[in-house]
């Protein structure tokens, strides 16, 4: 990951600030940075979203393609994740430089999102054992300033909300064969139920306290962080310790509690925002990168 160099004095300043619940940019320990969300930004996709979290900037595009279900789960579709750590974000990612981080991110996203508790995978089935929808979720990192997981999870939830899968019908042919018919009407489509899609909250342990939405500078001061994915009901679906340092069990417990509280509060405003944007329909002025 993109890293920043930080001196001992700066480190002390950040740690003391966190102790007093006042961070370098004036936030409290449980506050997120200014966040901007916009959906439907890339017209070549079935669903897309762009999320800006402080200086962190991610773009998610979802394409739905017809594929073959996995043999173990014949009546379910599935999601594929790919994270492109492009050189745009930082020159360190040039060539194969971003591959390691990309794989780490996409594997975690796969664990968090591609299960039937998060997304109704059965609704992606077209005909059991033969055809299903595969949602290719492609994440593009455009700028990194810490807290990639949270930004990506919000972007994925927004993009899934925005995803419109064309309606298909299975027609039986006379010789017993089956054929998939695509609806002619481009507005005739199904939506993905995003109600149970979790959001990820990453907590960074700094000194004796922990903070959410750490910037790169703050991350450089922390020993380790904890990733928690929480649904709108406050259900924890995934916990993961990240980073080189170690955490004691007690602080993991505290961090999980904070994560649950913060994560649960994240969903309602997000859904409200997405629904509001949706209700504007085609009248909405698209801002994208031009704003």
């Amino acid at each position: 990951m993109a890293t920043v160099q930080i001196s001992e004095a700066e480190k002390l300043y950040v740690v003391h600030g966190v102790r007093d619940d006042l961070r370098v940019d004036g936030r409290g320990c449980e506050d997120y940075r200014h966040t901007e969300i916009e959906t439907d930004v890339v017209s070549n996709t079935d669903g897309s979203a762009k999320v800006t979290l402080g200086h962190t900037n991610v773009l998610v595009g979802i394409k739905a393609e017809i594929g073959k279900p996995k043999p173990m789960l014949p009546d379910e579709g599935y999601l594929e994740f790919f994270v492109d750590c492009s050189a745009n974000a930082t020159p360190e990612f040039e060539g194969r430089g971003g591959e390691g981080l990309g794989i780490e991110l996409s594997n975690t996203l796969y664990k968090v999102f591609s299960n039937k508790q998060s997304v109704d995978l059965k609704s992606l089935c077209i005909s059991p054992g033969e055809h299903c929808w595969v949602l290719y979720v492609d994440v593009l990192l455009l700028q990194c300033d810490g807290n990639l997981f949270d930004a990506i999870s919000v972007a994925i939830k927004a993009a899934l909300f925005n995803t419109k899968i064309p309606k298909v019908r299975i027609a039986e042919e006379e010789d017993g064969g089956k054929e998939i018919e695509l609806s002619d009407d481009p507005y005739d489509c199904v939506r993905v139920n995003v109600e149970n899609v979790p959001c990820i909250v990453t907590l960074c342990k700094i000194g004796h306290r922990h903070v959410v939405d750490a910037t790169l500078q703050e991350k450089a001061c922390s020993v380790a962080s904890l990733l928690i994915s929480v649904t709108h009901k406050g259900l924890v679906t995934c916990v993961r310790k990240l980073g080189g340092g170690s955490l004691d069990p007690e602080s993991i417990f505290e961090m999980t509690e904070t994560g649950k509280r913060v994560g649960k509060a994240l969903h309602a405003p997000l859904m409200e925002l997405l629904q509001k944007e949706e209700s504007l329909g085609s009248k909405r002025q698209k801002v994208g990168f031009l704003g």
């Binding site: 890339v42 393609e65 492009s86 492609d138």
Partner: protein, 245 residues
């Protein structure tokens, strides 16, 4: 030409443009704060994002260092969702490598590299949405990003693709026109001096038509340069107002 009629009898193209008409270009400079220079450019439905880092010390092998000028390092990549059919990898395939090389050559011709000996300038371009004319969108976006980074250039580099259908040159082709399989000429121009930074033509063309085609491409590039100039001036004006000078 078989299949689609690219140019109607009335002289209109598939998307309703006249033969010399460019697609709508919208651009913004300084989209990202962390990079030294960045720009976003929409050319019709083709969207490109360019980021510039540098000039800085040469990274990696010391053998790359040029003692009399800066090294230009370009990377072209396409978002996996940018095309109608999903791409499996964003960069590293032959087409992207070739495109990176073309971009490098184009900008070596435009940037005053001798001002920064023993250093390196990185230009990274990403296609977010592809609808034909990827090379030209990349060059135009990268020009704005280089200007945003404050790196001196001889002139704007403006690029445009031109096709040739029914004895008529078609400026700024979109994907449907490009995939028709006809002649396709890509030109990068330094408009003030009329210098050509890159010229590439695919498919065959009668030599008699080459002049017409080149002429059309140069006119189109000059049109692009006007738009880019407008964007730069507007950006400067906004910055001046914001900094209160």
């Amino acid at each position: 030409m078989a299949g689609l009629e690219l140019l109607s009898d009335q002289g209109y193209r598939l998307d309703g443009r006249k033969s010399t008409e460019l697609r709508k270009i919208q651009a913004r400079m300084g989209v990202f704060d962390q990079a030294d220079g960045s720009a976003y450019l929409e050319q019709g439905r083709t969207i490109a994002l360019a980021v510039v880092y540098g000039p800085h010390d040469v990274r990696g092998s010391r053998a790359k260092i040029q003692h009399d000028r800066a090294v230009i390092n370009c990377q072209y990549s396409m978002a996996t969702f940018s095309t109608a059919e999903r791409k499996r990898r964003p960069h590293g395939d032959r087409k992207s490598t070739e495109m990176s090389l073309h971009l490098k050559e184009t900008f070596e011709a435009a940037i005053l590299t001798h001002l920064y000996p023993r250093s390196q300038i990185d230009i990274y371009v990403k296609i977010l949405q592809s609808d034909g004319g990827n090379y030209s969108a990349c060059v135009n976006a990268a020009t704005l990003a280089v200007i945003d980074a404050g790196i001196p250039m001889r002139d704007y580099v403006c690029a445009c693709t031109v096709g040739f259908v029914d004895d008529t040159p078609l400026a700024d082709m979109n994907h449907a026109e490009e995939s028709g399989g006809g002649t396709n000429l890509a030109l990068a121009l330094l408009p003030r001096g009329g210098q050509i930074a890159l010229l590439q033509m695919d498919a065959r063309l009668h030599q008699d038509h080459l002049d017409t085609l080149m002429e059309a491409a140069m006119t189109a590039c000059k049109g692009v340069s006007k738009v880019l100039d407008e964007v730069v001036r507007q950006h400067l004006q906004e910055t001046v107002i914001l900094t209160g000078e």
